[in-house]
């Protein structure tokens, strides 16, 4: 933090009264420090890691971060209201297992593969709203603190997912799933062909690695979901109410906002996004995965949201900021691995980054 402050202070020597921290440049730097840090990471790793700087690697990283990106978006909604949702990681696992089980059942009933996939995914998505509904009702009707209510759901969702899957990943799903989840929009072999959504018919499987595959479906999917959420949160009435509740519940109540109802919707939406993440994971991996304890998806989602500029006391946070937070954590892992550093340093780096984020949050309490 101090390092960044001094270098930028040299860039803007004429900043007046209150010192650098008060200046426009200082505030802009603080507001988007995670984005600048991400850039710094990318530049550094481009020098230290072979093949780090390549479209293939970047696409790969984003593709693997589909689930964390969606979970961080879900967590952002909740944290902006001043709450926390610890259940999203296991709700994602539960949705993944539910989708896979539903698909197995539908396939056994003799439905065509397309219907199996569509109905299974839709069914799991609808069911994934339930944990959020329960969270929201327990928090608003019984006034249980969000930490406790969602920690309870942490256990419940985890137990249900393990019970459904009997402790093993659910396999034997339609083969079209991974093709959908891992496909690309553009396929290009310079001098030979340019095709969309798939290689040209009759192209030999064995040569697929020579083809330039650009814009993974997962990227399009995540970008669309995040853009929609960012729009809703920044432009609409729903978003205004969300920030108002996070700023001050009393003020929101006096302004006539139905706080209880709104909070229920927030937790339902967060749970649904976690469900979406879990279901999309079935498309990516071709199996239903329950969430393991050591994954700590929910805690890393909170970390990404805080690194992205949100405050745990509510009223502050951006969906795209959280996405940057996820990418910081992801490129840290990927870059360290490619540079040949022990990947375990990543865990330590997360801790340091979080503390930096909080200190910046304290220094600039009025940034939004």
């Amino acid at each position: 933090m101090n390092e960044g402050a001094t270098t930028a202070a040299e860039l803007a020597p004429g900043s007046r009264g209150g010192g650098f921290l008060e200046s426009r440049a200082g505030r802009a730097l603080a507001r988007n420090w995670s984005a600048w840090f991400l850039l710094l990471l990318l530049v550094t790793f481009s020098f230290t890691g072979r093949n780090f700087l390549s479209i293939g690697n970047f696409q790969h990283v984003v593709h693997l971060q589909t689930l964390p990106l969606l979970l961080a978006a879900a967590e952002t909604l909740v944290i902006v209201t001043g709450g926390i949702d610890l259940s999203i990681g296991f709700v994602a696992g539960l949705a993944s297992v539910t989708a896979a089980k539903l698909m197995q059942l539908l396939a056994a009933a003799g439905l065509p593969a397309g219907a199996v996939i569509a109905l299974g995914a839709a069914g799991a998505l609808v069911l994934s709203l339930l944990p959020g509904l329960v969270n929201g009702l327990v928090i608003t009707r019984f006034r249980v603190p969000p930490f406790i209510a969602t920690l309870g759901m942490w256990g419940i969702a985890n137990g249900l997912a393990l019970k459904l899957s009997e402790g093993f990943p659910v396999a034997g799903l339609p083969g079209a799933l991974p093709r959908l989840g891992n496909g690309y929009v553009v396929y290009l072999l310079p001098g030979e062909f340019l095709s969309f959504l798939g290689p040209p018919a009759g192209f030999p499987e064995g040569r697929i690695r020579e083809v330039w595959r650009l814009v993974p479906f997962s990227l399009v999917f995540v970008a669309a979901v995040l853009a929609a959420l960012a729009f809703v949160l920044r432009r609409g009435r729903f978003g205004r109410h969300t920030y108002a509740i996070g700023g001050s519940v009393d003020a929101a109540l006096r302004a006539g906002i139905d706080v209880r109802r709104h909070l229920v919707w927030i937790y339902v939406l967060a749970s649904g996004l976690a469900g979406l993440a879990g279901v999309f994971n079935v498309f990516q991996t071709g199996i239903g995965n329950y969430t393991t304890f050591s994954a700590m998806y929910e805690l890393f989602a909170v970390a990404a949201v805080v690194i992205g500029g949100a405050s745990l006391s509510g009223g502050k946070g951006r969906v795209l900021g959280s996405a940057v937070g996820v990418l910081v954590l992801a490129f840290l892992q990927n870059g360290l691995a490619i540079s040949g550093v022990q990947p375990f340093y990543r865990y330590i780096a997360v801790g340091v980054l979080l503390v930096i984020a909080v200190v910046i949050d304290k220094l600039f309490p009025d940034l939004r």
């Binding site: 006034r143 249900l160 805690l299």
Partner: protein, 356 residues
């Protein structure tokens, strides 16, 4: 306050309700135990108590760690991975000392002491971040979780820590008292009897360790100035400051104590399983916090007792063992602990005299 007001209107009902508020947890625990005595074959046996205490040692210690932090109004997410780190550091240190020719008993004592000293460090950093830098406990302790996880993996490079002397295993899975009908009894060491002779094993050593520590913590929290300060810090920080309580130093001490207890749990793990593992305590986040909340503490600080937290731990330990003996997979346990956790908090809010 509230209970007194209700008592003026409807004395009997209020008395019943306040009695329920005091005792529902113990009634629940009794009912739960009774249920498993009938539902799980072999559960109604004095040995069950020893088994559930033996397997529950880590949860008991972690819940105690969490209790002190929660009473101050904070939370400690790092306890599970501090446990893992301590299990690794302890195993490596004791193993190295024993390997260097130190007699096993001395290696064990010295290694354990050093592990505890190292294990307090994460807590000191947590406490410093929370008390002096105003970092929210959730963030500070999650950062420490990451650091402990990273350091653990660096030490063991993705495998287990091993190499404890045989004495460690003897202590870890040994008992305080052995009684062989007809052949007399002995302390700490299994008596020399013929194979197949029945030997009663009474009170596992690790349970004795935990019991002594918990008794000391009970005394510290309920009978000392330190304990009063901890409640005061959690109840109303401003008032505590005005009353001249060194709030920051107390917070630092509480987080250090939390990490120390987690390290002790790590040592207990190392002795029990004769190995150290980075994620030895990964699944215990829910259990340790749930035990404290089931015991009636408030998330917002200022309340919670050692006795009721022990009861909260027992609720979870009985559930775990009961379900295992019933043959239902332990998956059910997570669901039930989650439901009981939320249910307990709802009950605590609904009953009189607890309106927090």
């Amino acid at each position: 306050m509230e209970a007194a007001g209700v008592a003026g209107v409807e004395p009997t009902r209020a008395r019943v309700l306040s009695l329920l508020a005091e005792r529902w947890l113990f009634a629940f625990l009794a009912l739960e135990t009774l249920y498993f005595c009938f539902a799980a074959e072999g559960f109604a046996n004095p040995n069950s108590l020893q088994i559930l205490l033996f397997y529950g040692v880590e949860i008991f210690l972690l819940a105690m760690a969490e209790l002190f932090v929660i009473v101050t109004g904070g939370i400690d997410l790092s306890v599970g991975y501090v446990l893992g780190l301590a299990s690794i550091v302890g195993t490596k240190l004791i193993g190295a000392l024993a390997g260097a020719g130190v007699p096993p008993a001395a290696a064990l004592a010295l290694g354990a002491a050093l592990t505890l000293a190292v294990g307090i460090l994460p807590g000191l950093v947590n406490g410093w971040l929370v008390a002096y830098l105003d970092v929210p406990p959730f963030i500070a302790t999650f950062s420490m979780l990451g650091v402990c996880h990273g350091v653990s993996e660096l030490i063991i490079e993705g495998v287990y820590a091993m190499g404890l002397p045989p004495l460690a295993a003897e202590l870890g899975s040994g008992h305080l008292l052995y009684y062989a009908p007809g052949a007399g009894m002995s302390f700490l060491a299994r008596p020399e009897v013929e194979r197949g002779t029945e030997v009663w094993e009474i009170v596992p050593n690790v349970v004795v360790l935990a019991a002594v520590v918990i008794a000391a913590l009970w005394f510290a929290l309920s009978r000392t100035r330190f304990g009063r300060h901890v409640y005061a810090v959690g109840g109303n920080r401003d008032a505590a400051l005005r009353a001249g309580i060194p709030v920051r130093r107390r917070l630092l001490a509480v987080y250090a104590l939390s990490a120390g207890l987690a390290s002790l749990a790590g040592l207990a793990y190392a002795l029990k399983y004769v190995s150290g593992k980075a994620d030895a305590g990964a699944g215990s986040l829910l259990d340790s916090i749930a035990a404290v909340m089931i015991g009636g503490a408030s998330m917002f600080g200022g309340s919670g007792t050692v006795g009721r937290t022990v009861a909260g731990c027992l609720v979870i330990a009985v559930l775990e063992l009961g379900l295992r003996m019933r043959g239902t997979p332990t998956f059910d346990k997570y669901v039930l602990v989650g439901v009981i956790l939320v249910g307990a908090v709802v009950i605590e809010r609904w009953l009189p005299g607890k309106g927090r």
